[in-house]
């Protein structure tokens, strides 16, 4: 009834090429934004922010980043954890070296530094393809974690080898450190997440996104029709790492506050983010959000159900979680390789015809 393009006449090119061409979609999008920005901050408490909302937002940014590289450009990366660590440590070094500069600038700069590192590790992608590349990105993962563990300059020679986020504020409201309010934590992550999603969505709609997709679909054919693989692959690595770096910086500075690199940014992190985009949908910004939401909520839900309700030991619930995640991956790859995003698209197609399908 509501969800259709009939009667929604476009009179300009701008209107014709907007992100959400169907009016209902557009209004739904505005409504979600309004709720996220204007309603949720007044309702949240400590538990919701720490257990669900902030990890969801931060993982969404990381998933968007990896989705650009893997979903749009077709280069599988297992180095996400390492790149998140680069973002976190860059942010820490900047925060301690320039205490007077606003943290927002630090986080963006940390993304920039990660982009540079990502480009460096992306260079082999010009020669190596497919799972050779996936394994090669493991080099980034293990090397970077080792580097931040062993070179004490990165953690300012602290005795514990940890990095701790000093207290910083935006507009006079503390966003990092021990005295941060839940809603402030939520808001800074939300702002970054929103900005990243808008940028990513528009990049993937534009020339750059089209060259990435051409490389993904068949790189030799793309080269023949005039796509520069060097430029396409390296920009994908750079922009993907930029987002991943921002998520790493937020993960450290805002969410955890104190980080030990092997524990927080180990190989498990790379897998989790990869699973998010497989389950959510490769090559879809919405899918990044859906996958992140599912994999953030799943452990919380299982813990509620298994530990609190049924009284099972935590390790059994953790193992069941492994089984469920593994099963989900396999099931999605078999039944719906395009993930939750595709289910959503199918649902929308059905909704367009409702209530009178052919």
């Amino acid at each position: 009834m509501l969800y259709r393009e009939a009667g929604d006449f476009k009179t300009s090119y701008v209107a014709d090429s907007q992100t959400f061409p169907i009016a209902f979609d557009r209004w739904r999008y505005y409504a979600v934004l309004a709720v996220a920005f204007l309603v949720v901050p007044f309702l949240v408490n400590d538990y919701w922010v720490n257990a669900i909302l902030v990890p969801f937002l931060i993982y969404s940014i990381a998933a968007i980043g990896l989705n650009i590289l893997t979903g749009y450009c077709g280069q599988v990366s297992l180095g996400t954890g390492g790149f998140m660590a680069v973002g976190a440590y860059a942010c820490y070094k900047l925060m301690t070296a320039f205490p007077d500069v606003n943290i927002v600038i630090h986080i963006i700069l940390a993304g920039g530094i990660t982009a540079a590192v990502g480009t460096l590790f992306g260079l082999p992608s010009l020669r190596i393809k497919g799972f050779y590349l996936a394994v090669a990105t493991l080099a980034a993962q293990f090397f970077l974690v080792w580097l931040f563990n062993k070179v004490s300059w990165f953690y300012n020679y602290s005795a514990s080898g940890q990095i701790n986020a000093p207290e910083r504020s935006v507009f006079g409201v503390a966003v990092t450190g021990p005295n941060v309010e839940p809603w402030a934590m939520y808001m800074i992550c939300l702002v970054f997440c929103f900005a990243c999603a808008v940028i990513a969505r528009n990049l993937t709609r534009g020339t750059l996104g089209r060259t990435w997709m051409a490389i993904r679909d068949m790189d030799i054919a793309a080269e023949i029709i005039g796509v520069n693989p060097l430029k396409a692959k390296l920009t994908a690595f750079a922009i993907s790492s930029f987002f991943v770096g921002i998520s790493g910086a937020l993960f450290f500075a805002v969410y955890l506050g104190a980080v030990e690199v092997g524990e927080a940014f180990g190989i498990q992190k790379s897998f989790i983010v990869l699973f998010m985009i497989i389950i959510g949908g490769l090559g879809s910004i919405f899918g990044s959000f859906a996958g992140a939401a599912l994999l953030v909520v799943l452990p919380v839900f299982l813990k509620l159900l298994g530990v609190d309700l049924l009284g099972w030991p935590t390790d059994i619930v953790a193992h069941i979680q492994l089984v469920i995640v593994g099963l989900l991956i396999i099931l999605f790859l078999i039944l719906e390789p395009h993930g939750l995003a595709q289910l959503w698209r199918v649902a929308k197609e059905k909704l367009r015809l409702w209530p009178f399908p052919h």
Binding site: G74, V76, L123, P124, R127, I128, K129, G130, F131, Y132, A134, V135, A136, L138, A139, F142, F143, V145, W146, N149, K150, V151, M218, I220, A221, I224, I267, F271, L274, F275, I278, L310, W312, P313, D315, I316, H319, I320, Q321, L322, V323, I324, V325, G326, L327, L328, I329, I330, L333, I334, P337
Partner: protein, 334 residues
């Protein structure tokens, strides 16, 4: 000759022995990749699963005991027997064959014809699934592999003392080589010989090679792909069992086993995905290289370089030779 030289030589020999262990895991990858084009990320977890199953069967643990206890409120743990190692190995092989059948029947049968990278991601999912199942079945505590491997008592007593003495007489410097490493080398040699014999001289082995060469042609002469794939996964499961026992004897059966097995990946990249000799040579190079690097350079820059050296070496190597040392040349067509 200065002592450093001999010490470096000793490090090299020990590195070669460690490389054999990597090669053991890498062999399983190559088998599956050659026959079905699946890059089996779960090989390391299969080794973990096999080793855990072996220990569990040997000690008479009841599968899923923790889960059953949690659900039903019972308190059961053991059947109360202790099996002979050989019997336990045979039973574990049966379990691995069942696993191979299940993997083929419930996962890869539905993914035939998908892109290789999708298959790769499916095996990552399989790795998680297997790890969860293994932990649920046998519990996540660190286990000891209780076969003669652990103490090296399979070998005649005092063999490393004998090597020590012989080399001391020869060079004036005694080499120390771990018993377990010697056993691993011997076992690996037997395993490779057996694999080669199997693939050269048996009907199934020839069918396996035919499938590896060309799926279509193999199908047309009446080789059942389904059967061969189950066979290959079973053989890979057996290799995983051997590797799991070796690694388990070395460092205990625990989760980190599957991470050590990740080291087999750079070994493969170095040797080429499609070559069994490549897997062995790659393993030796990686094992030797990382020990020597740690010895000469690693200690100066903070140590523990073994975590990443193999990957970086493989990465640099691949930039110059994308198909690895012995891999088939990669030809791409539009």
């Amino acid at each position: 000759m200065p002592d450093t030289f001999y010490f470096a030589l000793e490090v090299t020999v020990n590195g070669l022995m460690a490389g054999v262990m990597y090669a053991l895991v890498a062999l399983g990858f190559v088998l599956i990749f050659k026959a079905s084009g699946i890059f089996n990320f779960a090989q390391g977890v299969m080794a973990l699963f096999a080793a855990m199953t072996f220990v569990g069967i040997q000690n008479g643990q009841i599968p899923f005991a923790h889960l059953i206890n949690a659900i039903l409120g019972t308190n059961i743990h053991y059947f109360g027997w202790k099996l002979h190692s050989i019997l336990a190995i045979v039973l574990t092989v049966v379990v691995m064959i069942l696993l191979a059948w299940a993997v083929q029947r419930f996962i890869f049968r539905y993914l035939v014809g998908q892109e290789p990278i999708i298959l790769f991601m499916a095996t990552i999912g399989l790795a998680y699934l297997l790890e969860g199942v293994a932990d649920l079945m046998w519990g996540a505590d660190i286990k000891k592999v209780d076969v003669c491997l652990a103490e090296g008592t399979c070998l005649p007593q005092g063999i490393n003392a004998a090597i020590d003495e012989a080399t001391f007489n020869l060079f004036g410097y005694g080499f120390f080589i771990d018993n377990l490493d010697i056993t691993a080398t011997i076992v690996a040699a037997i395993l490779v010989a057996a694999l080669v014999a199997f693939s050269q001289y048996t009907k199934q082995g020839r069918a396996m090679r035919a499938v590896a060469d060309d799926h279509q042609a193999a199908l047309s002469v009446g080789v059942s792909l389904n059967y061969i794939w189950i066979l290959v996964w079973s053989v890979a499961g057996f290799v995983a069992l051997v590797a799991g026992l070796m690694w388990g004897a070395k460092s205990g059966v625990q989760f980190s086993l599957s991470l050590i097995a990740l080291k087999a990946l750079p070994v493969l990249m170095l040797g080429g995905f499609t070559s069994i000799p490549g897997a062995i040579v790659g393993g030796l190079i990686i094992g030797m290289g990382e020990k020597l690097f740690e010895f000469f350079i690693g200690s100066a820059i903070g140590g523990a370089t073994e975590n990443w050296f193999a990957y970086v070496l493989a990465l640099i190597f691949l930039v110059f030779r994308p198909q690895g040392l012995f891999g088939e040349k990669i030809i791409e067509r539009v």
